[in-house]
Structure formats: structure tokens, C-alpha cells
């Protein structure tokens, strides 16, 4: 699995910072960024930083993983509805598949998504993990 420097470089901002696009015609958002609004077909779009928290709408558990993902198996991929309504497809991490459920609260995190062997590039990108809220009040 060779990772292309150009591809990683071109897509780094959306992958690192959860930057999507908002349509200036219909006002709806999408991720990852596309040149045309998937909702209305407009090309009048602007980049937006999307909220980092959301809810699992649905998910699947992949046992027959693609080459290079055996150490992640079973691999959980979820459709997450971010708190602004944008839907994002991304891996869930830091969870056992038995602990995943629809409706669970998650937050975006930067993780290794793909690694090109021992000598190639490391592709960092978006994953979601169970939400950890800061507690109120002082600790002992």
C-alpha cells in the first residue's frame, strides 16, 4: 500500500482539522470537501471548520479488512452526525466493537489511518473516539 506524497499533502487540512464545506446556495455542509455541493449541485462553497463532537448514527464492523489493516481488525467504521448536522464517515478508535452503539457520543481525534510499510509515509487523519467531557470543579 504505497501512500502518495501529493495525495497526503493535498488532503492534509481537511484530515487534520476537520475542515468541510458549506454551500452558499442551500446552506448545507458536507465532509470531506468536494468541488460541488452534494445536496444542490452548486459550486459556490466555502471552507468551514466543523464541530469536533457528534453522535454515532450507524456503524459496521469489518473483519475482512483491506491490506494493511490487519492490526486494526476488527475495524469499526461509523457514520457520525456532527453537532451541526454534518455527516462524516470515519473509523471509531479506542473502542471494542461490543462497546459501540448507535447514539453514542464521540469526538474527533487525529490518528494514524494508514502506514506505508516500514519506509514509506504515515497517513494521519480523522478518527472518532468515545467523548471525554472535562469534569466540573477542582480535583483533590
Amino acid at each position: 500500500m504505497r501512500l502518495s506524497p501529493a495525495m497526503l499533502w493535498r488532503t492534509r487540512i481537511p484530515r487534520y482539522r476537520l475542515v468541510g464545506r458549506e454551500c452558499l446556495e442551500c446552506g448545507r455542509r458536507h465532509y470531506p470537501p468536494r468541488p460541488v455541493c452534494p445536496h444542490c449541485g452548486s459550486r459556490r462553497l466555502r471552507d468551514v471548520v466543523l464541530p469536533r463532537t457528534g453522535t454515532v448514527e450507524t456503524y459496521t464492523v469489518i473483519y475482512t479488512v483491506m491490506e494493511g489493516f490487519r492490526d486494526r481488525a476488527p475495524h469499526v467504521i461509523a457514520l457520525v452526525r456532527l453537532d451541526d448536522g454534518t455527516r462524516v464517515l470515519a473509523p471509531l478508535t479506542d473502542v471494542d466493537p461490543s462497546g459501540v452503539s448507535t447514539g453514542m457520543r464521540v469526538e474527533a481525534t487525529l490518528r494514524r489511518i494508514r502506514v506505508d510499510g516500514d519506509t514509506g509515509l504515515i497517513g494521519y487523519g480523522l478518527s472518532f473516539r468515545p467523548l471525554m467531557e472535562p469534569r466540573q470543579g477542582a480535583s483533590k
Binding site: 500500500m1 492534509r12 487540512i13 487534520y16 482539522r17 491490506e67 494493511g68 490487519r70 492490526d71 486494526r72 473509523p91 478508535t93 479506542d94 471494542d96 481525534t109 487525529l110 490518528r111 494514524r112 489511518i113 510499510g117 504515515i122 494521519y124 478518527s127 471525554m132 467531557e133 472535562p134 469534569r135 466540573q136 470543579g137 477542582a138 480535583s139 483533590k140
Partner: protein, 350 residues
């Protein structure tokens, strides 16, 4: 008092833990060895984590507390001995992920466990000289240890990050700092070696103790302060015992060390070690308190800092998860799973 300080702090500890007793059983160590090291369990990075992802998490928490526009950060220093790339900076990945690029300095520093502390010193200096408004220092490691080595009980994953800036915006103002380094070969790793080597007992007296004691005594002499002037004392913590012993030698009571002692719970996170301890102290410190922090790096050197906590700390403590939140959030892994997470199996690509 100097003109710079800590504006925001952040921690990150991976979710997974392995019990020291499990490592002892697998490798046939005498069961009392982990207790002798003062470590019950250690944090293990997940299969998709590395020093960069850990550093990004800690730095994101530091930025949340600092409340500073990332574009105003003019330097990113990344201290680690677990660089994902031998050549290609980790600091630029962290800076890009957090929106600090492109108008910033960025570099990776290496000084065993003390590199991030040098990054703090450099950033504080750049702030005071007026070259930058704010700087970010990150210490993060997925510490390596040869399976079966005594180091495996403690070598852990985690990190801490600090936004450094002007004293007027600080939660802890720098009072003074003193650094002490020599060429002491107590712990090292050659270029293509996957695991570090160490000088066994030599890591103690001539390395850890001599350098921390010299740095702290240097700071006390320079400032005229005494151990009784400090409310907290945080030392590099390669195990659970050394920090308490060096504190005793320097005249700091145990109660001032325990709030910043995290290694018994999560292991030694190398560049995160003393700095996670500092983060845990900042999580609970009150305005007016004085903090001593003395990271150490093999090779060898130590910095002794004195910080004075300001009124701003209280409102920022609740803005991000605390070290104790991360300590409490855990999932145990058995040795086989830990070995997979840390890449200890020899395998072809599947």
C-alpha cells in the same frame, strides 16, 4: 519574577494499560520487582497512536486552556525520543493539525527525556526577548523498552504540552530557571537500534540524582529560596521511587511531591514524565502557590524551574480534561494485545 510564564497546559494519556504484574509473570521476574520500582501499571498507546498523535491531543488541551488564537503561536518545539520519522519533523504535523502553520518556527528536539523541557526554556526565552508572542512546547513519547528488560515495567506512552507566553497572560509566571548538563552516558539508543540501552545502576547516582540535585541547588542558590518556600515539587519520574528519594535528599517533604507523581499510575512517559506531573499540579494549584519542577534527561541534564501561580489558573482548570481524568479512563490489555499495539511481533504486511 520574569516576564514570561505558562499560559495554558494540557495532558494526554492513552486509554490502554498493562499491569506490571503481567509483565513480571510473562518474563519470569521475581514478583516483587514492580513494587520495588513503585509502578503498578503503565499506559500503552493504541495501534493507531504515536508520539505525534499523543502530542496533538496534549497540545489541543493546552490551547483550549490558553484561549490563544493558534496563529499567534510563533514557535513549536516537540520533544520526544519516539519520533515517528527519523527524518521529517513531528513539530510541523502538530503545528499543521492545530492551525499554527505557516508563520511559526517548528522543530523536534532530542535530549532523551528532557528535550521538551529545553523546548520550554527556548520558548520562554523567545517570548521574553520579544521574538514571539506565544510558543508551544510538547513532550510526548511511546517509550521503547526491549521485551524482558527491566525498563519494560515503566516505559510508557503519554504526553504533556504547554503554551508559553507573556507573564500578564500566565497561569504560572516563571520566577527563575537553572540548567545543569554534562556528558554522562547513563542511557542511550543508537541510530538503527529499536530499543535503548542503559547503564543499570549507573542511571541513578551519577546521572539522575547528580543532575537534578545540581540543578535544584543551583536554582535555590541563585534565587535565595528554600525548599519550605515551595508548595509543590515535581521531579522527573523514571519510576515511583526516584522522585521521592531525590526530594528527601533536597529537603522536600513527601506531601509536596505526591500531587505531581504520576508514574505509579501510568508509567514513565519519558518526555511526558515530569511535565505530566507539572500538569497534574496545575490542575489543582491555587493562586499564589510556588511550584518547583525539575525534568531530567539522560545524557545528561536537568532544568529546575520555579513558577508562581496566578489568579487566572482557576478559570482555566476546567477548560480541558485533567490528568486524573485520563488516569481514571482506562482499559486493560493483556500482554499479547500490548505486544500487538507496540509492534513487538515480527510480521509481513497483511
Amino acid at each position: 519574577m520574569r516576564k514570561s510564564g505558562i499560559v495554558g497546559w494540557g495532558a494526554y494519556i492513552p486509554r490502554y494499560r498493562i499491569r506490571a504484574s503481567e509483565i513480571a509473570t510473562l518474563w519470569g521476574w521475581e514478583p516483587g520487582v514492580p513494587h520495588g520500582l513503585g509502578v503498578e501499571e503503565k499506559a500503552v498507546a493504541g495501534v493507531d497512536e504515536d508520539a505525534v498523535t499523543i502530542g496533538v491531543e496534549a497540545a489541543r488541551n493546552a490551547l483550549r486552556r490558553a484561549g490563544v488564537d493558534p496563529a499567534r503561536i510563533g514557535a513549536v518545539f516537540f520533544g520526544t525520543e519516539s519520533k515517528p520519522y527519523a527524518v521529517k519533523p513531528s513539530a510541523t504535523i502538530v503545528a499543521e493539525a492545530l492551525g499554527i502553520t505557516p508563520n511559526t518556527m517548528a522543530s523536534d528536539l532530542e535530549f532523551a527525556c528532557r528535550a521538551a523541557s529545553e523546548g520550554m526554556r527556548a520558548a520562554l526565552g523567545l517570548v521574553e526577548s520579544g521574538f514571539i508572542e506565544y510558543g508551544l512546547a510538547v513532550g510526548a513519547d511511546t517509550a521503547q523498552a526491549s521485551p524482558g528488560d527491566v525498563l519494560e515495567f515503566t516505559a510508557a506512552s503519554g504526553g504533556a504540552a504547554f503554551v508559553l507566553g507573556p507573564a500578564g497572560d500566565s497561569v504560572a509566571v516563571l520566577e527563575d530557571v537553572y540548567t545543569y548538563v554534562t556528558d554522562t552516558p547513563d542511557f542511550w539508543r543508537r541510530g538503527l537500534s529499536p530499543y535503548p540501552a542503559h547503564g543499570e545502576g549507573f542511571t541513578g547516582e551519577p546521572a539522575y540524582f547528580h543532575h537534578i540535585e545540581s540543578a535544584v541547588r543551583g536554582l535555590l542558590e541563585k534565587t535565595g529560596l528554600r525548599p519550605s518556600d515551595f508548595d509543590y515539587a515535581v521531579f522527573h519520574q523514571p519510576n515511583g521511587k526516584f522522585p521521592l528519594r531525590v526530594a528527601k535528599k533536597l529537603g522536600f517533604p513527601r506531601e509536596k511531591v505526591l500531587p505531581g507523581l504520576v508514574t505509579p499510575h501510568v508509567g514513565n512517559t519519558y518526555n511526558g514524565s515530569a511535565l505530566l506531573g507539572l500538569a497534574r499540579v496545575l490542575d489543582q494549584a491555587r493562586p499564589g502557590q510556588r511550584i518547583l519542577v525539575a525534568p531530567f534527561g539522560s545524557g545528561s541534564g536537568s532544568d529546575a524551574y520555579s513558577f508562581i501561580v496566578t489568579d487566572r489558573i482557576v478559570e482555566r482548570q476546567i477548560l480541558a480534561p485533567r490528568v486524573d481524568d485520563y488516569i481514571a479512563r482506562k482499559t486493560y490489555a493483556d500482554y499479547a494485545t500490548y505486544a500487538k499495539m507496540r509492534g513487538l511481533y515480527i510480521r509481513t504486511t497483511f
